[in-house]
Symmetry: C3
Subunit: 216 residues, 3 copies
């Protein structure tokens, strides 16, 4: 077999990863939009239905990750180090997990009121998921044209900072004003989980930054 | 030295890992049985004594892991990649840690009542530990006969699902019915820790699945 | 180029890591002293100012870690495996994160009283940070003269044990005596975060022990 045909044989394998990672980032957007829908829902039956959908997205995300992992094992040449794709997948999975656990807490704690600030937080999660999708969509040219992706990394970092501020001010006020300790526990944990989701989105940005630095 | 004698020289080193990992999985069963005993104990002095035993198992687990890690450093040929055994050990250690921290919370929070559902949870942890022992016992032939181990992986995954359900329904009811917020905090955290232990058991299954996929 | 001059060209790169890691361990001491200052502060405005300084140290620690990581990518010969320095950095970063999150909780929860035991805990964190600095200062000769560093590892482990005891007894008493559930939540979480900081200090010791075992 000529060198050329070896490469044409290998290339399809390599380039599989990009659409697979793209699909994964679509799931992040889907889950974050559902989370927003859950937070503004005022009907318990509807809420439970929306959470079921979030759970389904999370489960399909797990399956997607497993697919990518078994591809990684079978593929001898990958666009980046196996380890980098592995880490990126785990960070993407973390985001889905946190969106799911935020949704789950809303359902099982069933707080009397959903504070406005949680919706603000879910908007930040949507924005962050969109930034992740934008970056992942550029992965195939990231080492040659890193500037757009680096912009998105910085954007994710500033989203995380904003979420941190929202969280801190909110919890400070919660402890000052909430007298019902059980409601306080519920709301505090839901907000904490939402804030962690923005941390994990920032962690995706950090991994991509590492990849850019490594291969640029 | 003939090739054969080289192998006979190396083999003992390699096969050391299997009994060492077996001993580690015995500790999981021992700790999970003690946890069950702690949850049904109605005598505070006895409870403290049982927790002391759990702590001892956890400490001896740490030592076992250290032994395996230093073996790994000294051994040039291992049955699997060094990294896989390393990851497996860390996951086994996570289970022991969670069993220990569940037990610790029972002792230091000292809740007025231990709900029936925590005992149901500890039964799931026992079942999970037994599945882990069964898998670890097959590690030496796992790449040739993976089916039994894969069954156990699926079993661990369904245990984790069941534990998830038990946890979710329990916490939903707890928030609906418990009016003493301090008791609620205690019970909720103890249940959360027990549920995490089943997550970590499932994580052991996932690692073993990865190993099977990699070497099959 | 002669072999010798290749080495003299490479050596400066290698030895960069030691002063960089030294600076990082200085940040641990700085942050832990600020945390102590925050815990004994009785003035809210002053407390907020001190926390701002902790946050600054944590941010500068993140930058330092990034510097070391990009050095690692550029450097072909490092004194230890890239991975070991990477792990060590992540553990050092964990300590700073926990000191920061302890400080943050003090500010955003604003408990009515800061219990004496939290100050005892911060003293253990200072001692632990000093032990880390002592070890990191010996890294360049650690494989030849490991005994001093091993002593510090054991010292860190006994600090972690002491912190565990302080934490357990404190939380047991807190649940027995505190009737204000919201204050209980605040104090419990602050203590938990302080205790986790001592865990992470111990984890630094464990990493260094692993390095010693590996290269000795």
């Amino acid at each position: 077999m000529a060198i050329n045909s070896i490469f044409s044989f290998l290339t399809p394998k390599e380039t599989k990863f990009f659409p697979m990672l793209n699909e994964m980032s679509d799931k992040l957007i889907e889950a974050s939009l559902l989370l927003h829908k859950l937070l503004i829902s005022t009907n318990r039956t509807e809420s439970k239905e929306i959470y079921k959908q979030i759970k389904e997205v999370e489960t399909s995300g797990d399956e997607q990750i497993n697919l990518i992992f078994s591809e990684l094992n079978d593929t001898f040449i990958t666009p980046f180090d196996r380890e980098d794709i592995h880490n990126l997948c785990e960070r993407l999975d973390d985001v889905l997990d946190l969106i799911n656990s935020s949704g789950k807490r809303i359902i099982i704690y069933n707080p009397k009121q959903i504070p406005e600030k949680t919706i603000q937080m879910s908007n930040l999660i949507i924005k962050g998921s969109q930034a992740v999708k934008a970056m992942v969509g550029e992965l195939h040219t990231i080492t040659k044209k890193p500037f757009y992706a680096l912009d998105q990394c910085n954007h994710l970092h500033s989203i995380e900072h904003e979420a941190d501020d929202v969280y801190e001010h909110f919890v400070m006020e919660l402890f000052e004003n909430e007298v019902d300790s059980i409601e306080l526990i519920k709301i505090k944990e839901i907000m904490q989980e939402l804030e962690k989701a923005t941390d994990k989105l920032d962690a995706v940005g950090k991994i991509i930054k590492t990849i850019i630095v490594k291969y640029a």
